[in-house]
């Protein structure tokens, strides 16, 4: 709390007005908040991962048809969910940035992209390692797999484009357009197993049907999904902080943050 209070005192003239939640839309408010929250999310991710791994390997039973290799799903499914969800959140922040012209929104969407790409790759990688013993192939050009691969390329495209354009305002806008156009692919991935006759199995968890797997398997998968959420929040908040400093380097509050950093070492 000390950080935030100091900043407020020193910057009465730039203190944003309005409802308390929107206060944090201002970079100088959000920067210390992100720094305070990230370690808690990281700790939550660590605890949830430990519980999730224990459920996945020591509680969940052997699958009747797939044997032990099915245990890959405890990371495969959460990673695939995360890769789609992060892309939608990126598109959301891109839209907010375009409509409200808020710089922090674009930065948020760019801070999310590498983690989204990581989960997307993990989903493809674990899927391949599961596919070989189960389907007899690491890869097939099935609708689900192909649209997920397209998602990975969209992530790469977004990252490459926003880094290649030097003018941050133009980079923000170009990135936002890829994020928004690419978001169309997410429902295609999600529903591909219904729309096309795919080799990939249907949704593992559905809100409308009773779960088709053992309760302990479902629990393991959900705990790992929460771990992935907490991890994403922590790593994104850590990544966005230096990005904010970079963008706001001309301001006085960044000067003060940097002075403190220099004092520290």
């Amino acid at each position: 709390m000390a950080d935030g209070l100091n900043l407020e005192k020193n910057h009465m003239n730039v203190k944003p007005r309005g409802p308390s939640l929107f206060r944090f839309a201002a970079p100088q408010m959000f920067y210390p908040l992100a720094g305070r929250l990230a370690p808690w999310f990281a700790a939550a991710a660590l605890v949830l991962t430990a519980i999730g791994m224990w459920l996945s390997f020591f509680v969940a039973p052997t699958d009747a048809t797939q044997g032990e290799v099915y245990r890959v799903i405890f990371i495969h499914v959460p990673a695939a969910w995360m890769s789609m969800f992060i892309y939608l959140v990126m598109a959301f922040w891109a839209a907010v940035g375009l409509v409200m012209n808020t710089r922090l929104s674009f930065v948020m969407s760019q801070a999310l992209a590498p983690t989204g790409a990581m989960f997307c790759f993990v989903a493809l990688w674990t899927g391949a390692l599961w596919g070989k013993p189960t389907w007899g192939a690491y890869w097939v050009w099935d609708a689900r797999l192909t649209s997920q691969l397209l998602l990975l390329f969209l992530y790469f495209g977004f990252i490459a484009l926003t880094r290649a354009i030097e003018d941050p305002r133009r980079a923000d806008r170009a990135g936002a357009i890829i994020a928004l156009v690419g978001a169309v692919n997410v429902p295609i991935i999600y529903f591909s197993v219904k729309w096309w006759n795919t080799l990939h199995q249907g949704a593992s968890v559905s809100l409308t049907k009773a779960p088709s797997m053992a309760a302990t398997m479902l629990a393991g998968m959900l705990v790992m999904a929460f771990a992935a959420w907490a991890y994403t929040l922590a790593v994104t908040l850590w990544r966005v902080r230096p990005m904010i400093l970079e963008r706001e380097r001309h301001t006085e509050w960044v000067g003060e943050v940097l002075d403190r950093e220099r004092g520290r070492g």
């Binding site: 020591f58 509680v59 245990r71 990371i75 495969h76 993990v122 990688w125 230096p242 000067g255 940097l258």
Partner: protein
Amino acid sequence: MQWESWSAFWDMGGAGAFVWGSYGVTFALVALELVLVMQRRKDTVKRLLRWRRAVGKDGSGRLGAAQLESEQ
């Protein structure tokens, strides 16, 4: 408990390479991402401190200001 022994656990019913290959790569990537994020923070702070010195924002000279500004 699902496993009769530790070797049965590592073997994963013969699918050890696939299961551990999945978990291993995932955790390696997570570790790599964390290292890169921490590294980036250090680099950014260092670069911005240099930039501030160069543009004279900390009141200690204005060497090569234009150069560093365009570097950003």
